[in-house]
Symmetry: C2
DNA sequence: GTCTATAGGCTGATAGAC
DNA sequence: GTCTATCAGCCTATAGAC
């Protein structure tokens, strides 16, 4: 308690409070993604994190504030990944676009489900902060399309439609993996389970064919 | 109360009980789609339907049974649409496939959101009935692909991947319509809002380019 | 079939000891 | 910071009058 970082290494060993905060955020992220906000109890979060229930309110100010912190971190991280991408030097910007979204969702497994649940609920949709971030996220697609030599008829494609054509299958692939795993357990015949990387390549391939000149 | 159908028309005027059941199912379908199972209260359903709260349990046996009835009806309806489609005489079976899924979701607006929420929750996923229906739904894509003269490299595409490439954007388009409407209210510049039909055509177009020989 | 009233369980937040 | 104990509110389901 007296010193914040030990002298034995460059990475400081987190004190108990820091570990508590982290454990709560990790456990809550998974539960919010799997069950949604309402169906996730503070008791469940505390149990999964291995901490006392009262610490959720103490450290984050309540279940709602905790939820907001988790979603914000994930969206900001995705925006950061997108900002770091070097699209001008990429041979296939459309493939790079798919990879960015895939990397963001792979790095924060709760991002896809939480965004999806946000969009599913029309009432929660008008929260100003989320909406602004979501629009910025979608605007990236428009910027990338400017770098691609589009096929003639592809120029008419609405950037938002292209965005949906990428993000839709990606999120769907991630959540459908569970379905196919469950199916593989039950079904007599084995079910093929492509990896995310394989799916990303296929999706980029299909997108190229749909947008690029022959 | 004495007679079930009036003599004035072929379509019988529903008695109060029938109208009650229908009002509950309609109201609950919208709420389950928008908020999910846990966040939807029986009070909300009854209020939205304009009926007494106790009638939900009386007519359906409880909130859980009501949910199951609504989801089953929608999935069965989609399967029926798929079964009726004449794929052999279609010039573009891949476009027909997109149209079938789109028609099912347009006809039952709660189908997409409810299926999505089912898949998002890993625990609820192993309910045997839902899983079986979901797999049958996905198997349709495989059947349709057999009718399409695929481009050489497209033969390697996993049918399940193609399925995700269709259903993913479709569901995403439907729920994202709300996002864009909300955005259009707030944003200074107007946001384009393509119709479902336009989106279906674009999606079929992109799918053709991705699968068909040049 | 419909309604009112209520039981029984669960939920999020917090006061106060340590 | 952490923990225990507890409260007030909300939830679904149902008994019983009509």
């Amino acid at each position: 308690m007296a010193s914040e970082a030990p002298s034995t290494g460059t990475a400081p060993i987190a004190d108990r409070a820091t570990r508590t905060r982290r454990a709560i955020m990790d456990a809550a992220a998974k539960l919010f993604a799997d069950k949604g906000f309402k169906a996730t109890g503070v008791r469940d979060i505390a149990a999964a994190a291995g901490v006392n229930q009262a610490l959720v309110s103490y450290h984050f100010g309540g279940k709602g504030a905790l939820y907001h912190d988790i979603l914000s971190e994930a969206v900001d991280h995705a925006a950061q990944l997108a900002g770091e991408a070097d699209l001008d030097s990429a041979d296939y910007p459309e493939r790079e676009l798919v990879r960015i979204f895939a990397a963001a969702m792979a790095s924060r497994p709760h991002l896809g489900p939480m965004i999806l649940r946000e969009q599913l609920d029309p009432e929660q949709l008008l929260r100003p902060e989320s909406l602004t971030k979501m629009l910025g996220f979608m605007a990236l697609t428009e910027a990338v399309l400017a770098h691609i030599p589009l096929r003639e008829e592809a120029r008419r494609y609405d950037p938002q439609i292209v965005h949906l054509t990428i993000v839709g299958p990606l999120i769907h692939f991630l959540i459908a993996t569970r379905v196919r795993e469950a199916a593989a357990q039950k079904a007599a015949r084995p079910v093929s389970l492509p990896t995310l990387d394989e799916f990303v390549e296929t999706l980029g391939d299909m997108l190229s064919h749909a947008l690029r000149p022959t």
